[in-house]
Amino acid sequence: MFEMIKKVFKSVREYKIYAIITPLFMIGEAAVECALPFVMQLFIKEMKPDPAGVLDITFADILPYFIIMLSLTIISIACGILGGRYASYASSGFAKNLRKDLYAKVESFSFENIDHFHASSLVTRMTTDVTNTQNSFAMAIRIVVRAPLMLIFSAIMAFVTGGAIALIFVVAIPVIGLIFFLLARRAMGIFRRVFKRYDALNESVQENVAGMRVVKTFVREDYEDNKFSTASSNLSKDFIKAEKIVALMTPLMNTSIHVVYLLTMFFSTYIILEMAPGTLDANGDPIWGSFAPETMSALLTYGIQILMSIMMISMIVTMLVMSLESIKRIYEVLNEESTIVNPENPIYEIKDGSIIFENVSFKYKKEAERYAVSNLNINIKSGQFIGIIGSTGSGKSSLVNLISRLYDVTEGKVLVAGHDVRDYDLKTLRDSVAVVLQKNYLFSGNVRSNMKWGNKEATDEEIIKALDIAHVDNFPDRLDRVVEQGGANFSGGQKQRLCIARAILKKPKILILDDSTSAVDTKTDRMIRKSLKEDLSEMTKIVIAQRISSIEEADQIIVLDNGEINAIGTHSELLKHNTIYQEVYQSQTQKGGN
């Protein structure tokens, strides 16, 4: 656990100084908060009529008190403001660095790492968890130092003012502290459980809202109602259990204050009346012994401060423990090592687009029983057009992902231009192998900014040429058209064509289209293939497709079935000899359709 916290808090970096200064100001604030009642008590003592019942004071007598109390208040306000200021520098800066570190780490992840965490979980870790950590960090540097200090200062002051009577606190503090801690722990335990259930309840509301048409279609409104009522009422019962404990806290706190108060009062009056019986002054007013009412009230102020800090401490401890969960989730990301890293002496040049698969087998997880693809032996010459076909889950995408090291082979090796892909510099390799992923994505911006992903220095002419090859519609504001997140404002076919253009701009040696023209009509599909062939003839092209028409003129067609190569051949060869190919062909031609 310690190592975990240490690693996460390393991100404080340049804000460390603020993280150190803040508690200092908090110490100042706490010190003043304790000193102020002490000075006030001295002042009240000074104002106390003398044994003769006379109080002879001039303005000059009270001026020092006035100045001291005022300066203490000003110091306190200054400490408070500066502390608050530096605390926000420190916590906001820490959060910034933490997000930055996470971002950098996540960007270094391999596909395997990404799959391991799931995209949605990574987003939560970088947003909600960082915010939680930031909050507890802010609290830590401000209150964690302050509360125990208040406790200590107040205890010291209590002894200074009250002497032996302060011993009451010594007995009371541990007892009260323990009770609070136990109660808080118990309540937090219940709360944590209840919050999980609460999340589940909210999730079911979400499901209901999202599936409202299904609910209405099957006329399940009442059923959903009952389900929700039961879950909500059970949750409510649990919440009440926890709230009952919480409701005990304040009265218990008050009870302790009162008990301490009564005890203090009893002992102090006892001291005044029994141990140091006073005498009367000339006016008939009593002469106080060593113990006066003002001492008592100061003592009580300290008593309340002590109890307050105990309550604070027990609350903070439980809250910090709760934020450990977030820290752990952040640590998991920071501590993850990318499974794909650059070799030691990488090759920086790729000569051609030839690809060889030698006895390649691959599975997504080491512990998985089934290989995603196995025993692959393929020989692709530079500039060839390769088609891959097979049903869902037959391993088509897994096969191509091995070429640009999106995943590493489990067994065997993949060679590009005669060298194992694991010997190349990663950036060099990926720049030479352009993949248009099945789950593709355009980024918010405009068409030009998206195209520049392929090549930063691309001129407008080059971009237009790529768009033409991919047959992206020639709409008027072609390069400046706004792209919404994920390319939501483009139709499926248009999006796919833009993604192809983006890949072409990289001028790769190898271009892989993973089911990238499924939403494009057959005519345009054919035209894209024609342009690719004519304009980019020396580039190796690998096309995964559902439609036979997309790959029928390929130099080689690989038929995959259950992760293994069922057959390799040209369209006419496969049509003659391969049953799977025949079946697919029939399902698409006899009954037609796209």
Partner: protein
């Protein structure tokens, strides 16, 4: 916790607080009365604690003066300048202890009662909201984002919790304490009270100034936070693309810009938030110091103090000390603390009212109208071809049609004859979605709807099951105007498989059984087999008992679609609507599912919306829609021969999107 949405600062409706408190009162009268009494008592106790402390001081003073031992003997003491009472220390402490006990019991009673009331109330509120939401028309869900609806159940309910359990009683308590303190202070000294009030004013000004600035900065922070989160979300979603294009450095630089901006805004916002309390607390200290100094000056100059009892000249040390300085300082401190607490609650109250207002908005939404009275009943046929109503599940149905005029009931056999007669439709009253659309589906026929996204295919089916309503008599089901059919019964008679599959948390078995709650396990297996889902379900870790969560995210899109087909199969409705039911299944698997689908459609009137034209070639009627109008109709052969839009789609010359 989801980030506070900026729009939450939108103005709440008038009267929300009143409505909230009224409904609370309505449900928990007794508890609220108990809490109020307990609350008031506990405040009185808190206030009187100080009086007792000064009383004890007086007892000691008097006992020394009168030469008595106040532990054993009674002495006469002056109570707040009002009356003289006899007292001794043990009695006083005993009474004080008793008062404290009452106080503690009272504060325990009200915090506990209010906490319980809050939870019970929230439960009622949630259930009411959910139940009301179930009855809302589909249109509501079209016009409200899922996220916004969800936030009612999370953020807004939480602000109500804060309001009911914390802000309401606290404001009441601090308000009462402030008034009580004010009274005691006035009784001691009007001058000093004025000093305290000036300090209070300063606190309120500070709260408004810094608080106002803070909320402005918090909005800015919230904006840049959502920017950062948006940026993170976009890069993580597109992370694989970033890697494929080795675009890591560039995207990191872009992220840094928004991240730095957030840091800047968060710092300013938090500074404002952090310094509010120290400033307010120290204004309290200033007041304390000034009150002390002013009292001294009053004494030094032998000035006159204006108290409730009249003008009193501060000429003796004792009067100054015991009636002015010590008690006043204590009360002024209590006063400032409570004012500071009160001002802190204001923000929560504003948020609570805003949250409640949004929840009430949902409760005020008008529910789905249903004036239908024709119901769906099971029937049993006699040998002579006549039938009678039965409570058994016979799979034969009739419409039961009561006639109000003469009190008779007629039955119409359910055949599945659906006629849509020349409808125009618009969702928002502006953009026409359907124009002059007529569809005639005879019993047992298969009607296919083809067209691009937005052509109006799904809208037609939405009108048949009355997700949206249309003028009387435009759609007739077995000759009956569908507006006369009870909505639930109409929907029971239609089996719908939607394009977007929604599964619920629960086992696979639960999800299929959702179609018909009283189905046996065997019937579930049977339905799974029809949908060709049986084999893959059996391969899941726990077969039919495998838990699905997060909308079945552990299944592939195709598998989810198969389960949704099984769910419709078990419902066994006499008329089917298939809206792109097999769009996510690859062509080879689709052929397998097709067999089951054929079985589902056999003998039933079916509406099919399909993306792949291969699945609808056998339809009796194919309607081609374009921009809300039917541009072609006929069967496959005749449409191919026509060489129109359908032919172009079929040959792949045009892409269907």
């Amino acid at each position: 916790m989801p980030p506070l949405k900026i729009k939450q600062y939108a103005k709440p409706k008038k009267g929300t607080a009143k409505r909230l408190i009224k409904s609370l009162w309505h449900n928990f009268k007794l508890e609220i009365i108990i809490s109020l009494i307990a609350l008031i008592l506990s405040i009185v106790v808190n206030l009187s604690g100080g009086v007792f402390a000064s009383l004890i001081t007086s007892v000691i003073t008097e006992s020394i003066k009168q030469g008595r031992n106040a532990f054993t003997e009674f002495v006469d003491v002056n109570l707040l300048n009002f009356a003289t009472i006899p007292a001794n220390i043990p009695t006083l402490m005993f009474v004080l202890g008793g008062i404290y006990l009452v106080g503690v019991l009272c504060s325990w009673t009200w915090t506990r009662t209010m906490a319980i009331v809050t939870q019970k109330y929230l439960n009622l509120f949630r259930i009411k909201m959910f139940s009301h939401m179930q009855k809302l028309p589909v249109k509501y869900f079209d016009t409200h984002q899922n996220g916004a609806i969800m936030s009612l159940y999370t953020n807004d309910i939480d602000t109500i919790r804060q309001f009911v359990s914390q802000s309401l009683p606290n404001m009441f308590a601090t308000g009462l304490t402030v008034i009580g303190c004010l009274f005691v202070m006035l009784s001691l000294s009007v001058w000093m009270t004025l000093v305290v009030l000036v300090g209070t004013l300063a606190m309120l000004v500070n709260t408004k100034l810094i608080g106002g600035r803070a909320s402005k900065f918090f909005v800015a922070q919230q904006k840049s936070l959502s920017k950062v989160e948006g940026s993170i979300e976009e890069s993580i979603t597109g992370l694989k693309v970033i890697k494929v294009f080795t675009h890591e450095e560039e995207s990191f630089k872009e992220f840094e810009v928004v991240n730095d901006e957030l840091c800047k805004n968060a710092t300013t916002a938090n500074i404002a938030g952090n310094i509010m309390m120290p400033i307010n607390g120290n204004i309290g200290n200033f007041v304390y110091v000034f009150v002390a100094i002013l009292s001294c000056l009053l004494y030094i100059n032998k000035g006159y103090n204006l108290a409730l009892t009249g003008w009193v000249r501060i000429d003796t040390a004792t009067v100054f000390y015991a009636t002015l300085l010590v008690p006043f300082l204590m009360y002024s401190r209590m006063f400032s603390q409570n004012v500071s607490n009160f001002s802190q609650q204001i923000m929560f109250v504003v948020m609570g009212i805003a949250g409640a207002s949004r929840c009430f908005d949902l409760l005020d939404e008008v529910v789905e109208a249903d004036d239908g009275y024709v119901t769906l009943v099971n029937i049993k046929y006699h040998e002579d071809g006549t039938f009678e109503e039965t409570s058994e599940r016979t799979r034969d149905y009739a419409w039961k049609h009561p006639h109000k005029a003469d009190g008779t009931v007629t039955y119409t056999e359910l055949k599945g004859d659906i006629v849509i007669d020349d409808i125009d439709f618009s969702y928002d009253g502006k953009k026409t979605v359907l124009k002059n659309v007529s569809v005639y589906a005879h019993p047992g026929q298969q009607i296919a709807l083809v067209g691009a996204t937005g052509a109006g295919k799904t809208t037609i089916t939405n009108l048949i099951n009355r997700f949206y309503d249309i003028a009387d008599g435009k759609i007739r089901y077995d000759g009956i105007n569908i507006n006369k059919i009870k909505k639930d019964d109409l929907r029971h008679s239609l089996g719908v498989i939607l394009q977007d599959v929604n599964l619920f948390t629960g086992t696979v078995m639960d999800n299929i059984r959702y179609g018909r709650l009283d189905a046996t396990d065997e019937e579930v297996y049977e339905a799974a087999k029809i949908a060709n889902a049986y084999d893959f379900i059996m391969r899941l870790p726990q077969g039919f008992n495998t838990m699905l969560s997060g909308d079945g995210s552990n299944l592939s899109q195709g598998q989810r679609q198969l389960i949704s087909i099984a769910r419709a199969a078990i419902a066994d409705a006499p008329v089917m609507i298939l809206d792109e039911a097999t769009s996510s299944i690859d062509t080879r698997t689709e052929r397998l599912v097709q067999k089951g689908m054929d079985q589902l459609m056999k003998g039933r009137t079916t509406f099919v919306i399909a993306h792949r034209l291969s699945t609808i070639q056998n339809a009796d009627y194919i309607l081609v829609l374009d921009k809300g109008e039917i541009i072609e109709r006929g069967n496959h052969e005749s449409l191919i021969a026509e060489k129109g839009a359908y032919y172009q789609l079929y040959t792949g010359a045009v892409e269907l999107e």
